[in-house]
């Protein structure tokens, strides 16, 4: 986890640019970075920002786990069994191309403006993505290694854990990465449209009051959390899983 100096440099450049434009514009509609950070700190102290961030994180976690479990099961089945693949391939294409907004609105209409609808809407948006990725992985499973497992009587669970799962790891990691990026964004829309807490809700509130500083404070906090998860959770997990390479 070495700090990439070029990346730090390019971020500094962005901040400086922002600062310069803010000074030139001199408008409450474009606060400078210092004001935004100050607001982030102030809202953190009152507990408001952590509360909304927490609500969003909980939704991301719940819908992510749900989408991943269901999507992986569907994808692996489709990758392993021709017949299932043929039946559901059309469905997959349909759901892959269904706009997220449509799913969200339909979930709220059909299930009511509640937490279940919110999480279901996000999960449904993500499931086809996970399924398509893991189907690719399941299609490329190595039959030679399956033969080894069979000859040596490894049994179902052991085979799944030590022979099959490691082959799916790169595909699962790809699904996690693209999945999180997608889910973060959809959760915000879900919150904006039908929840009364979370980062999406707060951004909506600040938008209605033209409070750009507050809006940017939440956006920045959100980006920082996403990056932290990437850096401190996903990165190390991935490094551990592929250390044999």
């Amino acid at each position: 986890m070495s700090v990439d100096l070029r990346r730090v440099g390019s971020l500094m450049l962005l901040l400086m640019l922002w600062q310069a434009v803010a000074i030139t514009a001199d408008s409450p509609l474009l606060p400078d970075p210092v004001a935004v950070v100050a607001r982030m700190v102030a809202d953190s102290v009152t507990g408001e920002l952590p509360y909304h961030l927490g609500a969003t994180l909980a939704r991301v976690a719940a819908s992510f786990v749900l989408a991943f479990a269901i999507g992986a099961a569907i994808g692996v089945m489709m990758g392993r069994y021709r017949a299932i693949d043929r039946v559901f391939d059309g469905w997959l294409i349909f759901f892959l191309n269904l706009p997220a907004l449509v799913t969200i609105i339909l979930a709220y209409v059909w299930l009511g403006l509640g937490e279940v609808a919110a999480i279901a809407a996000v999960a449904i948006n993500k499931i086809p993505n996970v399924a398509a990725t893991l189907r690719e992985g399941a299609r490329t499973l190595d039959g030679d290694l399956a033969a080894v497992a069979k000859v040596y009587g490894m049994g179902r669970w052991r085979t799944l854990r030590h022979v099959v799962a490691p082959q799916l790891v790169p595909f699962a990691l790809a699904a996690v990465r693209t999945g999180l990026a997608l889910i973060w964004k959809i959760v915000l829309v879900v919150e904006l449209l039908g929840r009364s807490n979370g980062v999406g809700f707060q951004i909506h509130m600040h938008f209605q009051m033209f409070d750009v500083t507050g809006l940017l404070a939440y956006a920045l906090a959100f980006i920082l959390v996403v990056q932290a998860i990437e850096l401190f959770i996903l990165g190390p997990v991935e490094a551990r899983l592929v250390q044999w390479r």
Binding site: L145, V148, V151, Y152, G153, M154, R158, P166, W244
Partner: protein, 226 residues
Amino acid sequence: MSSGAEDGLAVTVRDKRFGARQVIADLTFRAAPGEFVALVGPSGCGKSTLLNILAGLDPAFEGSVQAPPGRLGMVFQAPRLLPWRSVADNLLLVDPPGGAAAVEDILAAVGLAGRGASWPNHLSLGMQRRVAVARAFAVNPAVLLMDEPFVSLDADLAGSLRDLLRALLAQRPTTVVFVTHDVAEARDLADRILYLAPSPTRVEREEVIMNRSIKEKQAAARTRSG
């Protein structure tokens, strides 16, 4: 070797096809318990296909396979190790009767003492082959199928692995089917050699080598007299 053949390995492959192409036709052989049968035949004639059938990996054929009770050990033509598990874990995952201690012993026996923690892809091909041989030995198999296990190893190493195989077989009765291109190797190890002819594969000729137990008695007699 004449008695008890019904407890050994009995194979009949009347018809084996890949698509429309017949690969094996009317091939029958038996191996008595503890017998060592070598299969020698040209490349592509269906030796690996036959071993897969023997191992129960390929049910798509016409015929029957009868195997004695007990575990199966198989050395495939390629090492086929799990690259994401250490060498020792590759052996432990096949549940060797002796556990971790047996794994260390068998690794030492194939000349890989202390390499248990290595990743398989950090080993040379010859070393990976030896791990695959160790894996097959580790389960104390009743039937041992080996597909050119000592190819691409230098002569000394191949010789010492042959000695190890002999020592193992002396300890416990194991029925062995051993595929090789090397007739000298087959004569050195086997009780009987089946020469296979291709397209479709059948047994062309059989060569009975002097029984191993007789060979051993003679060797023992020589050491006594000499």
